[in-house]
Amino acid sequence: MTAILFIEQVLNGLQFGVMLFLMAAGLTLVFGVMGLINLAHGSLYMVGAFAAAAVAGATGSFLLALIAALAAAAAAGAIVELVVIRRLYDRDHLDQVLATFALILIFSEGTRWIFGSFPLFLDIPDYLSGPVTLPGGIQYPLYRLTLIAIGLVIAGGLFWLISCTRLGIRIRAGESDREMIAALGVDISRLYTVVFALGAALAGLAGALVGAIQSVQVGMGEPVLILAFVVIVIGGIGSIKGALVGAILVGLTDTLGGLLLPALFALFMDNSAAQTTGSALASMLIYILMACVLVWKPQGLYGARPA
């Protein structure tokens, strides 16, 4: 294995991680502020991707497609919050899980009604396609580098939002004591809608960005949702910083595990068996990582609230 392959895989892991962060950030905000488990977060990711594909198909502009993804997912999030989620805050987690699971089914079949069963086309814009040569002779797709950059910029923006703005202060206050900030005159129900729409918009953006290199199809959000839950459990529920660290940890573990484990097994097994065992074990690796983190820190890496 060469150094070039290794560095390329690290970049891949990083890119995977920052996209997971966009999903996990919304999920962890919603759970932290409202105490709500939102299984339908993956559907908002799908909504973003479909909106982007539809707009890109109609206008040919990738930038407009991204804006449409943000707007559609935020709107879908706000509507869902106003119509359904609002009734669930006082219920226990089981009711929330049931209701948001129903939302997954409604979103999936609704999308299928509108767009049909066949995958949609969404492609990378010309100015971002193709590989670039990095120092050291590494060829790496420009689009993936852009994804890393966008993800890191958004992470920075979120930190700024949470720590330096009035909305951020309210969000943090909402996390520590809901009743108290309501008593201080903050319109808590509007805050909830805003936070939910913000989380949804991030998920929608991730869906559109990732949809351009993957396939835009019904049910694309659920596999990512599971990983996003792993990320927020590792990072500590409610912590944006935890979500970022957790996402990058999961991204790197998954990518490098898939590369290194089969190579490791190949040292003492024949190639075909090493491949099978190695890749089977690699797919378990992030869950093993999660278990280890939970043994070491039951609250997650940056989780503050006692369970």
């Binding site: 392959l5 890119q15 193709g130 797709p141 396939s215 596999p223 099978t276």
Partner: protein
Amino acid sequence: MRLTSFIAGACMAALAGAATAETGKVKVGMITTLSGGGAGLGIDVRDGFLLAAKMAGNDSLEIVVEDDQRKPDIAVQLADKMIQSEKVDVLTGIIFSNLAMAVIPAATAQGKFYLSPNAGPSALAGKGCHPNYFNVAWQNDNLHEAAGGYANSAGFKNSFILAPNYPAGQDALTGYKRIYEGDLAGEVFTQLGQTDYAAEIAQIRASGADSVFFFLPGGMGISFLKQYADSGIDLPVVGPAFSFDQGILQAVGEAAMGVKNTSQWNKDLDNEANRLFVETFQAEYGRLPSLYASQGYDTANLLLSAMAKADISDADAFRAALKEADFASTRGDFAFAANNHPIQDIYVREVIKEGDVYTNKIIGTALEDHANVYVDDCKM
């Protein structure tokens, strides 16, 4: 209260209807995937099947269609319901091999006929074969073997091969290696449902391969091809038709252009039955037919040909009529091997663009009159 009595009444009526089935009639239960990720395949099989039935205009053929949601447990429930309360004579429709394994052995054991329009798992072609089970599509290994055959004739010497880590994926790589004579630059199993192939593409780049073979059905293939095209690697790619079929190609777009893939059918196959099929399918549904639609269409025509020769109440005569495969297949020549799987030509296709639509054109024959390696394991 009124609702329950209404439902009860409806059930009674349905039962009564089933009980009064006339002789000569054949009732078909189609269990296929109509919702979720794999829905495009099931919809095409269903549409092809219904089109053939409509064109035949045969009143004694009755068809019940149900959605298995790509879940084995649902497929089993539907099969039980169709056999026990709907009293179907023939089952068909299943797309995915894991669902086929859950339904077919039980259905044939109860004396029902099963005509597979898609899934052809090796377990049902070899030791698990059954006189009442007919596969009208292919044995799962076939298209991969053909890809191996194409790789030989194209002069590939060092292939990198990849497939998802599940039974059909393992069969795919085995099938390719069975015919392919060159060396392997790498062999990788990906996760089922994986959508990001950056890691595998990096390995391909580092491996020094001269060609890539992959089996990644559905959305997995779309993701892989788009990412592969963007990576700047310029090696030839070959794969089975599943990642290059009509329903999927438009989502892959430019990235698929020029890719070679293997298939037992294409819309430009030059025979009377196929021309009629392609034309009527487009007129009826307003889209180009896929491989799956042709399989559904052939399945229905096989059934109709047997119905013309024998009465389903005489199972032995009906089975013999099916085995003769005396119908005009969209694939041209078609016959059943000893284990009731097709003997057919498998072609190499290239992805092209006709106007705005991506589609395939046949450029050669990979394997002629190809059956499958499991024939000798089948004792029936």
